[in-house]
Symmetry: none
Subunit: 134 residues, 4 copies
DNA sequence: GTGGTCTAGACCACA
DNA sequence: GTGGTCTAGACCACG
C-alpha cells in the first residue's frame, strides 16, 4: 500500500518515488511487474496525474522502471541494484543533516548510536532474493 | 566569521540562522553578547535587511536571542542549551533517512563513514559541503 | 468575512491572524477547509502578498493551518483546540494587567463591567473596539 | 526597588512610569516626596537618561509628579487619585486582550474568574491612607 | 495556479 | 542608532 502525505515538507513526487522503490525492494513489486497506470495511481492516491508522471519519469531516468509504449511501465530486472545506487546518491542529504547537528553541539556518538540502532534492529527486510530460492 | 553562500539550495535566512547558532555554540557569541545590528549584518553580508530580520525573528521565536528595540539583539542566557536540544530533537529525521537507505541496500559502514567524515573535518569544510551548487 | 483596519495600532498581519482564527473558531472555516490563496487574499484585502504570507507562516508555525505548495493552505484537524489553548495561555497576561489596575485603585466592578461588555456585544462591535484609531 | 526588564515587550519608559506609580501607590513615595534625579535613576537602572526624561515628562503631564526647576520632581498631593484615573484609561488595553480571547473561544466565565481571583486575594495593598491616621 | 524566498526601499516607535 | 512592519515586484519549485 502506498500512502502520500500532501503536507509533508517532502514533495509529493519524491514521496511517490520513495514509495514505489520501497515496494520494489520489499518484493511487493518484483522485477517484471506491471506498475499501476498513471490514471489509476492518480485516482487512488488523489494526486495530480502530472505529479505521477513526474515520478515515473524520474524512475525511468534512473532505470528502475521501463516504460513500454501503450502498455504501461514495468519494474526493471536490475531495479534493486539501481535503487541502491540512487539511495547512495542521497548521502549528501544525510551529510547536510549531520552537519547541521554537529554545528549545534550534538556529539558525534549520539548520531553514530542512532545509525547503529537503525541497522541493529532487524526490521522487515524481506528482500526479493530471500523468496526466490527456486 | 559568518559566511553566506548565495548558490546553496538552503535559503539564505536559514544559512544565517545556522551561522549565528554555530557562533553561539562555539562560544564566539557567548550569552549576553550584543549581536550585529540588522543593518550592519545586511551590509557586511550583502543581503537584504528583511532577510536578516527574518533570521533574527526566527531566532527570537526559538528563544535563542532577545531583541530590545533601540539597543539591539542579545544572545539569551540559555541559548547554547536551547540550540543543542532543538538539534537533538531532529534525530528522528535522521533515523528515518537511515532506515530508508538501509531498506534500499546501503551498507551500514557507508553511512557511518559519511557521519565520521562530517565530524572529522573542520568547520570550513562543512561550510563547503552544505552547498551543493546544484 | 475578513476585515482589515489599516488605522489600527495592531499590525495588519496580526489582524489577519485574528480574523482567520476567529473564522475557524466560529466554524466558518472548519478543519480541512481550503483557505483563500495568498494572492487572492492580498487582492481582496488590498494588502501585500508578503504580509499575508507572514500571517500564514505564523499560523503554520502554530499548527493551525497546513500549507501544501501547489495546492494551497488547509485548516488543521485540531485547529480549534490549538487556537483556544493558545488563547488561554495568555491568562497570566490578563491577570498581571488586572493586578496593576487593582493596585492603582480601579474598582473590581469597573473591570468586570468591561469584560462583560466585550462578551455582551456582537462580533462586529468587537471589531470596532479592536481599533483605536490612535 | 524599581526593576526594569529591557527585553519586555513593554517599552522601558512605560515600565518606569508603572514602577514609579506603583511606588507612590504603595506609599514608598508618599505625596511631597522628592523623586530621584534623572541622572541617578538612569545610572542605577542602567537606562538612557532620555528614557527617564520621557517617563518623567509623561508623569508630569498626568499631574502625578510636579517638576520644580533646579530641585527635581516631587510627588503631587493628589497623585493617588490621578494615578487611579490614568489606570482607568488603560481599560481599552484590557478590552482588546479580552476581545482576542473571546474570538478564540475562551469562555466569559474563565476571564471573570481570573479577574475575581485577582481582587479576591488580599495582596500588599498598603495604601498611604492606611498609614496616615495622624 | 500554489506556497516560499529574496530584494529594494519606505515608515514607525523606541533608546 | 535600534528592531519591527509594510509595500512593490521578482523568482523558484511544486501540482
Amino acid at each position: 500500500m502506498i500512502l502520500i502525505d500532501r503536507f509533508s515538507p517532502k514533495p509529493v513526487f519524491e514521496q511517490l518515488i520513495d514509495s514505489i522503490e520501497q515496494q520494489i525492494v520489499l518484493g511487493v513489486y518484483p522485477p517484471g511487474t506491471l506498475l499501476p497506470s498513471l490514471r489509476e495511481l492518480s485516482v487512488t492516491l488523489s494526486i495530480n496525474p502530472n505529479t505521477v508522471q513526474k515520478s515515473y519519469g524520474e524512475l525511468t531516468r534512473r532505470g528502475v522502471i521501463l516504460p513500454s509504449v501503450g502498455s504501461g511501465c514495468y519494474v526493471a530486472p536490475d531495479a534493486p541494484e539501481r535503487i541502491r545506487k540512487a539511495a547512495e546518491s542521497r548521502l549528501p542529504e544525510l551529510t547536510r543533516l549531520c552537519a547541521d547537528m554537529k554545528l549545534r553541539g550534538v556529539p558525534e556518538e549520539t548520531i553514530l548510536e542512532a545509525v547503529r540502532a537503525v541497522y541493529g534492529c532487524e526490521t522487515v527486510t524481506i528482500q526479493k532474493e530471500e523468496s526466490d530460492h527456486a
